[in-house]
Amino acid sequence: MTQAAIPNLAPALAEVFLAVAAMALLMIGVFANAQKAFGRTQVFAALTLVIAAVLVISGAGGARVETFGGLFVSDNFSVFMKVLVVLGALGSLALAGPYLREHKIARFEFPVLMVLSVLGMFIMISSNNLMSLYVGLELQSLALYVLAAINRDRNRSTEAGLKYFVLGALSSGMMLYGISLIYGFSGTMDFDILAGFVAGHAPALGLVVGMVFVITGLAFKVSAVPFHMWTPDVYEGAPTPVTAFFAAAPKAAAMALFVRVMMGAFGDTVDSWQQIIIFISIASMLVGAFIALVQTNIKRLMAYSSIGHIGYALVGLAAGTTAGVEAVALYIAIYVTMTLGTFAAILAMRRDGGQLEEIGDLAGLSKTNLPLAVAIATLMFSLAGIPLLFGFLGKYYVFLAAWQSGLVELVVIGLVTSVVSCYYYLRIVKVMFFDEPDGALEPIQGAGVRAVLSISALVNSPLSYFLLLAPLAGASAWAAQSFL
């Protein structure tokens, strides 16, 4: 019997660290005094995430490294996306404190579950095999189900958790069915071998059917239409910091996974999946634009907005080129900054000791709290994609990539829905600046909320557009090199 060599752990250093740190955090939480447990795990979780990001960046050598017998891969793209996930998690962790304490759900398991779900996202991003894809996906989803239901004494929150869990289990089932078909018709689950297999000859029908099922599961995780039904209810029902986390980190990870499966494993058979991506992209953009028009609750509005944004990001994927991957990476990076800022703004909406969630509650904000109104307006303009703001840059890149691939209709539909969606973003600006106020909001509670809001407003302001444009575009181009 041969003595097996220990696998090279260096490429997966950040994952190993996160796993061990999550268990250490659990110990800290259990043994700390009940009053201090949450604060302490929160600080240590933030530290853990920062160290993980440093490990990820320090491991960025440019070359593609595989380990664990090809189950795990580390390349430019994974480094870029993992940093984004850490940013999303850190941002929502910073937002969490005051809200959780007020609702008496500041339990020390909250940061621990967040770290574990980030671990799942890291594994998803680095997966190079359908099996590691699946366990990573389950790890992050299971932690997210619990986070959604963490306010267990409130019906809305448990409903959100249960809905997310049941539909998530359904999508996992479909994805597993697809994986089994792919394995049956190709004999492998490894992305590299799969890529070589489909490049050789036209894929068998069974393989294509399996691929469609996997796309279905992935579309559920990124909440693309027609698998978006859970999004508004879960976003509305889950505690707001959890919603911020949902909208930022898992979206980035699932989108990275989507790109990796489509461009990595099936990159040589673009024709067999391009139509599906085009369809879900158009449907997401339409639903995101038109259904959001009638929303009055700002969390539901953000849910539809995120569906629309995923539609735009999928435009880049539909292009099926390296330029498209670059555009997706850029778009998701910008989306994470915008969405974190918006949720910080939603947490800042407080009056008479309670949280507000209706758009009408923002009426006349410019007269009572001008800096907050300006910050929200900047984010809204950026989400709408007004030129000279980051949101515009993301849309420009994805549409350019699709245009270069000859997907003219997709670009036209994207532009139309983009204009339609301007209406509801600008309505918020109108409510803040031109309506009569009916009472001032409370001053913003918590340094974390203030910091996240101001940083993301600054990042999305025209000021930083010129400063950050070149580095960000450079970084996403560097990330997309993995799919050359």
Binding site: G70, G120, I123, V135, E138, G184, G187, D190, F197
Partner: protein
Amino acid sequence: MTLDAAGLVSFSFYLFAAITVASGLLVITARNPVHSVLWLILAFFSSAGLFVLLGAEFLAMLLVIVYVGAVAVLFLFVVMMLDIDFVRLREGFQQYLPFGLIIAGILVGELITLGGVWQAVGDVSANLADKAPDATEVDNTAALGQLIYTQYIFIFQTAGMVLLVAMIGAIVLTLRSRPGVKKQNIGRQNARRPDEAFRLVDVESGQGVDPSAFRQTGDRE
């Protein structure tokens, strides 16, 4: 008539197979649900025998330990604890039988089609990255161990993390700290010594004992 080794193997196969099929049938036809579970246990045992005949002794052990030892006993508990009216569950059996048969037929047809297509695709074994270790070199327990703990250690460990999350989740969503519950403090329990725990007192008849003298610093709760 004497039985040689091959004859013995085929005799055992038919014996175990017949018992498996018969007890499988009895599982679904037995009137008493407890009997159903017992027939199920017999079916598991005879399938374990079939695995041994195939040379898969590890799977046979697993079947006995996991299915007979844990799952079937759990079934038995559920059947005995829950008061399910099985007669009512069986109502309309004949009414739904044709429909059920149609669906079963469609499923079988689909499986056959899929198998046919799969055969037509041709050999994909060249793609198999992690072929199972050669059965002539290692026995199948060692082979499974190599696959699970060496080749797929990454997935095995991640699955462990998934279970950890499930455990944390179950505790977060259900554990409530109730005030006023008396808990055992093992440290204090062990630190207690006989001389401070009890005292011998001579009780004079008709006098009784003054209880205040027995309150100690240890009785804080």
